[in-house]
């Protein structure tokens, strides 16, 4: 079995209008790798949302996921928390393992 390395998977589910600001903050924290996923719909403390038929971006959500080395987590959360603390959304951190540590 190939060598596995410890990593952190940080997921941000955030309002679509905040997407570009969040990715800018992630890059400012020195994290260059992330993926953006559309969120089809859902429900939370601030109500329901759905992508269906949305003509504007205001009502939608996106998920931004980055996988980083554990030692980068604090800097990433510091940079991004200032941005997301006033907004609707969820930030979660989970442990994961990656194959090629040098990429993270």
């Amino acid at each position: 079995m190939p060598q596995m390395h410890e990593a952190k998977r940080v997921s941000f589910i955030i309002e679509t209008p905040m997407q570009s600001r969040l990715t800018a903050a992630i890059e400012e924290a020195g994290v260059t790798g992330y993926s953006i996923f559309p969120v089809l719909g859902g429900s939370g403390a601030s109500g329901r949302w759905s992508r269906e038929g949305q003509v504007g971006r205001a009502g939608g959500m996106v998920q931004v996921v980055c996988i980083i080395r554990p030692d980068r987590l604090e800097a990433l959360l510091e940079h991004t928390f200032r941005l997301v603390e006033r907004h609707i959304g969820v930030v979660s951190v989970t442990d994961c393992q990656v194959l090629r540590a040098e990429r993270f």
Partner: protein
Amino acid sequence: MTGFFDLALANLGSPLILSFILGVAASLARSNLSIPEATAKAMSIYLLFAIGFKGGVSVADHGLDPALVKTLVGGLALSAGLPFVAFVLLKVMTGLDRTNAAAVAGHYGSISIVTFVAGTSVAEANGYAHEGFMVAVAAAMEAPAILSALWLIGRSGGAAGGGRMDAGLWREILLNGSIVLLVGAFLIGLVTGKDGLAEIESFIVTPFKGVLCIFLLDMGLVAGRGIRENRAVIRPGLIAFGIVMPIVGAAIGVAAAALIGLSTGGTLLLMVLAASASYIAVPAAMRVAVPEADPGIYLTLSLGITFPFNLTLGLPLYLAVARYVTGA
């Protein structure tokens, strides 16, 4: 009043309005009918391009009208000023706190381009041409209301330090896709004129109303979903505001149109712009600048109350008034 009732009946029986009503009814009945996001986006691009292009061709055909500058200035003043009127009405009619009241007020200074498009269809169906530059006025009225709303919030120190306006948000507001497409298509129409229109007429003129029907079906679905999911926050005072404010806005709009000396069609469209509420540009700006404001209130009000009112009863009412004021 007879004129209004005839116009209202004709409007309510049109495929456009019936498509919208179908969407609302399907959504309220919890049907699984839906329009995919990409389809809705494609239709909005088509409608914006078509309406902008036709406006540009009209200006190219009739030449630059001296009323253009006056109407642009009037539109900017309406967009910046109407939030203050809406804010006062909200404080009188509803129990909204200052942050939410200012955020809602901003929506009512800006415009709904779909209501504008429906207004042009109603004007054309009743034989009233309008000044082609009204498309440019619509684009100019998108943004000033946002500044007024943020000023209202900042003045009270509300929303944890007031609304946040940075260079990025400025760029997003002034260069948002709708404005770029509308103004860009207007300029293409202006440059290419009637010859350009003849080349693409079969695409942007003939299918226009059919596409608008499907788009309004989608708007009905979104509006119905908003009403269903936000019933708890939309109280009677807010519903009354959602109906009274467009009438007040239209009344101010008709006064401005009379001062400028617009045609019957132009008067109708300026009333529509003043009466309509944004549900694209302003909500996106408010989510970034004032996240404390509740989107369930402002989106449901503009999309679930004011948009349906304008589409069903507002348009015939505004046309009847425009005809009366211009003596048509």
